[in-house]
């Protein structure tokens, strides 16, 4: 009974202390909206842990204005999420796909139909563009470099400059090397920060600040295509065009999700309560 009471107390404390930040209307000096976005999120059904409706709630809790559901080679969950999002206020949901091929992964954001992955990166990007979407090189670390030829890089819309792998020294250097290569060829390319959220970490762990003229899906996609983005890692470091980074910094820079007062207490109560229910008579 004590164990069950601990679980209930933990759940109540977690529920009570949960805080959803109010959507902040930030503007750049040029008057564009600055929206917090995560373009690389996996959902259930798929290899993500959370169903779309819970994911949208968590996106709001993380202070995101926009997120893309990008399951591997599937768009059905994302389309369901977008349909559900139209029933209530909250973060904008963009339909996407992580085009998952043997040698490369591409985030296709703003598409409607599944993109065929059994082709070259350049052809994948063209197929994404044909649907009005944008193509983002996902976690472009060393093992994916051979696939990224000049033809593909020249038409790529964005690349993940900040991704959870940035926390490891080796892959941080690899992301920086890809950044240097792609910016030489394509200086106006969008720097993207994504969480690649599956089961751990959290949505919005790394994020993108999109400088958009309108707070709509189309506005966000247009801004990525035009390269008006700044990537942020979870320490709040910003990456991208220095002028855009300055614009985001001028508007307050990286805004972390608010701390929740009883988070650790609720986790501890639930964890010990469940352990007690499992091992004690």
């Amino acid at each position: 009974m004590l164990s069950a009471a601990l679980v209930v107390a933990g759940l109540l404390a977690g529920t009570w202390s949960e805080s959803i930040p109010e959507a902040v209307a930030r503007r750049s000096p040029a008057g564009e909206w600055i929206l917090a976005a995560d373009f690389h999120v996996h959902a259930f059904p798929g290899d993500g842990a959370l169903p779309p409706w819970a994911l949208r709630h968590e996106a709001a809790r993380a202070g995101l204005d926009v997120f893309t559901i990008s399951n591997h080679n599937r768009v059905s969950t994302a389309r369901l999420a977008r349909w559900m999002s139209q029933q209530s206020p909250g973060p904008i949901v963009i339909v996407g796909q992580e085009v998952t091929a043997r040698g490369f992964h591409v985030i296709a954001a703003g598409i409607e139909e599944r993109v065929d992955w059994r082709t070259s990166p350049a052809d994948v990007i063209r197929a994404v563009h044909a649907q009005g979407g944008v193509a983002i090189a996902a976690h472009p670390i060393r093992r994916f470099w051979p696939a990224w030829d000049d033809e593909a890089l020249a038409i790529l819309d964005g690349y993940e400059r900040a991704h959870p792998v940035i926390d490891q020294e080796k892959t941080r250097a690899e992301l920086a090397a890809f950044d240097a290569r792609v910016r030489t060829m394509h200086p106006g390319i969008a720097a993207i920060g994504s969480s690649d959220f599956h089961w751990t970490g959290s949505i919005g762990w790394c994020r993108t600040y999109v400088l958009t003229r309108e707070r709509t899906r189309a506005g966000v996609i247009e801004a990525v295509r035009a390269g008006r983005t700044v990537a942020a890692d979870r320490q709040g470091r910003l990456y991208g065009d220095p002028a855009l980074v300055s614009a985001v910094e001028a508007a307050g820079g990286f805004i972390p999700p608010p701390a929740e007062r009883f988070r650790w207490l609720s986790i501890g109560f639930v964890w010990f309560g469940l352990l007690g229910m499992l091992v004690l008579a």
């Binding site: 529920t15 059904p45 929740e260 499992l278």
Partner: protein, 202 residues
């Protein structure tokens, strides 16, 4: 002696089973119980809620009632799949020593190693920075896999009344159904079903 009495009083059936499967199953088979479908469902529901709460913690860094229930409901097919895997071995057993509902209840007790593993991994995920390496998760997962298989084999021998050889065969079958389903879902989740779905125009 005092320690033994204390452990009898304090430890759950699940933990006693995990530590001494054959003896605990013998005791449980001899117990007279009522309402066992409800008890079987209660065990299944407990594992589902445990899964919902722990996934909420690892995936979002917090846990609320709503989040736990959303996750538990979404993934409830896992319990249905476990029940199906259980049905494959329980319904085949001719010398079963308990009713069907009680057999399901006792089989669900055998998942305690996975529950303990999930609790441990959640604690690591919360405390480790930035995340627990996937290789660590996969390699350490061998321990609950083997431990659960041992418990299921004991279940087959003690509760279903099979021989040792049949118990091993049924355990293999049980694990095959569970892991076949799991790999099928993973294959679906990473887009592996896409060519098949395209062929049938879905």
């Amino acid at each position: 002696m005092n320690g033994r009495i204390l452990s009898e009083l304090l430890l759950s059936s699940e933990l006693k089973l995990a530590l001494a499967p054959a003896a605990t199953y013998r005791t449980l088979v001899d117990e007279r119980t009522t309402g066992t479908w409800w008890r079987a469902l209660a065990h299944a529901a407990f594992y589902l809620l445990l899964f919902g709460a722990l996934v909420a913690i690892t995936a979002t860094g917090h846990v609320t009632l709503g989040l736990m229930l959303h996750i538990a409901v979404s993934w409830s097919f896992l319990v249905a799949w476990q029940a199906l895997a259980g049905a494959v071995i329980i319904l085949r057993a001719r010398d079963r020593r308990v009713g069907i509902s009680r057999a399901f209840e006792l089989l669900f007790l055998a998942y305690v190693p996975w529950a303990l593993y999930a609790l441990t991994m959640t604690a690591l995920a919360v405390l480790a920075e930035p995340t627990v390496p996937i290789l660590v998760v996969l390699l350490t997962g061998v321990a609950p896999l083997i431990w659960t298989s041992v418990l299921v084999a004991r279940f087959c021998q003690t509760v279903l009344g099979t021989t040792g050889a049949d118990a091993r065969r049924l355990t293999l079958m049980h694990q095959f159904v569970i892991w076949g389903g799991t790999l099928g879902y993973v294959w679906f989740a990473v887009g592996g079903w896409t060519p098949i779905l395209q062929t049938v125009r879905l």
